[in-house]
């Protein structure tokens, strides 16, 4: 192919609009694809102050008026937003001199925009399934949930390839929608190691805001909700401080915050635990860089990006062996895996890391190396480009070509 491969991505969030993990994912994926010689157009929702069109690190970003049409509820808003997104994307794709080769949708939130354009332009559609309704809700019960789950099933049916970020998600999506194996492909999520490079690792003054110099710093980052398992860590604290002097810092907020503080108070451990609430990105990065151990005790986790970020920050990690987390960490090599929902097992893992400095350092070094090998955005973009090229190869033999 003489001209570069050209892809149009649909995402309901893109920086500066950040709601969840899809926004940074699409941002890093698209700019890394550009570096690998792919022409990328991102069509996304608007954000106050962000321009309708800009070229960001080589990515052509188009923002549509997503609140143009009044909507009675969130799900209806999604489909109406898709109607407006499809109209704008159709105008854009039709006027481009270099035709779009592929459409790539991220989650059901842009399903109908992508499906319609696939048929109208007769170009392949790919989808990355970041999550599922049945996974988010632990089952589908209401009419709205069923409608969303059926829209997800339709999107995966229409897609030429379904990309998932972990082996766990591959099997989950396969089960949820009954997809054939050859339609599913695993491309891990990436982590941007650069943001951690300029952070002074042992900034005493900054660290002193959270822990005493003689205390080890144990860090939890996540929403304080049941599936993230902060309560498992709280229950493990007495067993850990029996053996090692440590401070436990919980970053994030959620509906379990009051309940967790009450448990901490009733155990008389207020001086050992700090709930910071939601912190800005810079503080978070510095905290991750000075933590002696980062703990991810989740009960359910499709991917577990927070473990990757901790590893990129050169912090040792202790994770529960569940979902995508179990795949990120290689036990005794890049971190410690413990039984999920088990405070004794978690206390054992954390104590082991905190009391053995040589072990801790080897975990950190191995993890950092592993991150650069497997979770580097540049490599993820190369793998994604290979998937694009494979699909275009199939396409060239189809009657659509």
């Amino acid at each position: 192919m003489s001209r570069p491969l050209s892809v149009m991505m649909f995402s309901w969030e893109f920086p500066p609009r950040v709601i969840g993990g899809i926004s940074p994912h699409v941002y890093f994926l698209s700019k890394s694809l550009v570096k690998n010689g792919v022409k990328v157009y991102v069509v996304t929702c608007d954000f106050p102050g962000a321009p309708d069109h800009e070229t960001l690190d080589g990515v052509e970003v188009y923002r549509i008026d997503s609140y143009k049409t009044p909507s009675p509820d969130f799900a209806t808003w999604v489909y109406l937003m898709n109607m407006n997104m499809q109209t704008e994307a159709a105008k854009l794709a039709a006027k481009l001199t270099d035709k779009i080769d592929l459409f790539h949708a991220h989650d059901w939130l842009v399903a109908t925009a992508g499906i319609g354009l696939k048929h109208v332009f007769r170009k392949p559609l790919l989808v990355t399934m970041h999550s599922t309704e049945v996974g988010r809700r632990d089952g589908v019960r209401t009419t709205a949930e069923r409608m969303i789950a059926e829209t997800e099933a339709w999107l995966t049916y229409e897609a030429w390839k379904v990309i998932c970020c972990s082996h766990y998600m591959v099997s989950h999506v396969k089960w949820a929608f009954g997809l054939p194996d050859d339609k599913l492909v695993m491309v891990p999520n990436g982590v941007n190691t650069k943001v951690f490079e300029n952070v002074r690792e042992k900034d005493g003054e900054f660290r002193a805001r959270f822990a005493l110099p003689e205390e080890k710093l144990v860090l939890f980052v996540g929403r304080l909700v049941y599936e993230k398992g902060a309560h498992v860590l709280v229950n493990a604290i007495p067993k850990i401080i029996d053996k090692v002097n440590a401070k436990f810092v919980f970053v994030g907020s959620g509906y379990m915050k009051d309940q967790l503080s009450t448990i901490v108070r009733s155990m008389g451990l207020e001086h050992k635990v700090l709930f910071t609430g939601f912190v800005d990105e810079e503080t978070l990065i510095r905290l991750q860089s000075c933590a002696d151990v980062s703990v991810v005790p989740s009960l359910f986790e499709p991917f577990g990006i927070v473990a990757l970020e901790a590893m990129a920050a050169r912090s040792a990690v202790v994770v529960s062996d569940t979902g995508g987390l179990g795949e990120i960490v290689d036990h005794d090599v890049t971190g410690v895996k413990v039984y999920p929902n088990n405070p004794e097992s978690l206390a054992w893992g954390i104590t082991k890391v905190l009391t053995d400095e040589r072990y801790r350092n080897s975990l950190r070094d191995n993890a950092y190396k592993r991150i650069q090998e497997n979770y580097d955005w540049d490599k993820i973009a190369q793998k994604t480009k290979q998937i694009y090229e494979g699909v275009l190869g199939e396409y060239s033999k189809s009657f659509w070509a």
């Binding site: 209806t76 489909y79 109607m83 109209t87 159709a90 059926e150």
Partner: protein
């Protein structure tokens, strides 16, 4: 001339008057040597077929069966309308002269097809949400009015059945009067006026 009619009801699925009207129109178009396709909805009689009147139909079902309301039902169905129309378009070597879309339901598809493939469209209006909902302005009604407005804005021409409806569209949606053509179904020969309208759109459609 090759024309595709969009209607959310068409025999054997009859909800109101529109099914009979579009069916009669399709028959007359065929009799006037217009190659006529009808893209419509049916819950299970899906796919392409040739009707007794000579029109070709392409019926689609909704891939999403569970819905919280008529809006989500309509909006998901539109992708199948696009698929059906694109299938016809590519089968006939992209030679589709125009789409005639009846009422608001498939306006999103008509708008995308116009912008993506350059097929001009006529928006044929039977009724307006303002009249159906007696001025209700809940988000649900406003969403439908927005889709109607999108249709008026993007359509090459609008067709109505009475002077009164033309005045109402001008008043409510601020559409230029000359964009709207009155074709009275009680007139002498409405099919001649329909064909005349189609010719105007085909002549100016792609140049626009």
């Amino acid at each position: 001339m090759r024309v595709i009619l969009f209607s959310w009801e068409y025999p054997p699925r009859i909800v109101g008057k529109l099914a009979e009207y579009t069916s009669a129109l399709a028959t007359q178009l065929v009799n006037n040597d217009v190659e006529t396709y009808v893209v419509t909805y049916h819950s299970y009689l899906t796919g392409m077929s040739v009707e007794a009147n000579g029109a070709k139909t392409f019926r689609v079902a909704n891939p999403v069966r569970t819905h919280i309301g008529v809006l989500t039902w309509v909006l998901t169905l539109n992708q199948e309308i696009e698929r059906a129309t694109a299938t016809i378009y590519y089968q006939v070597n992209k030679q589709v002269d125009l789409i005639d879309a009846y009422d608001w339901h498939f306006i999103p598809a008509a708008v995308t097809l116009k912008n993506a493939l350059g097929i001009p469209f006529v928006y044929s209006v039977d009724s307006l949400e303002d009249h159906r909902a007696h001025g209700a302005d809940a988000p649900f009604n406003m969403a439908i009015k927005s889709i109607e407005w999108l249709g008026f804005y993007e359509a090459d021409r609008i067709s109505v059945k009475s002077e009164w409806m033309r005045d109402e569209i001008v008043r409510i949606h601020k559409v230029p009067r000359e964009k709207i053509r009155v074709i009275s179904s009680s007139g002498n020969s409405p099919i001649k006026e329909v064909l005349q309208l189609y010719k105007i759109v085909v002549a100016g459609g792609k140049a626009k």
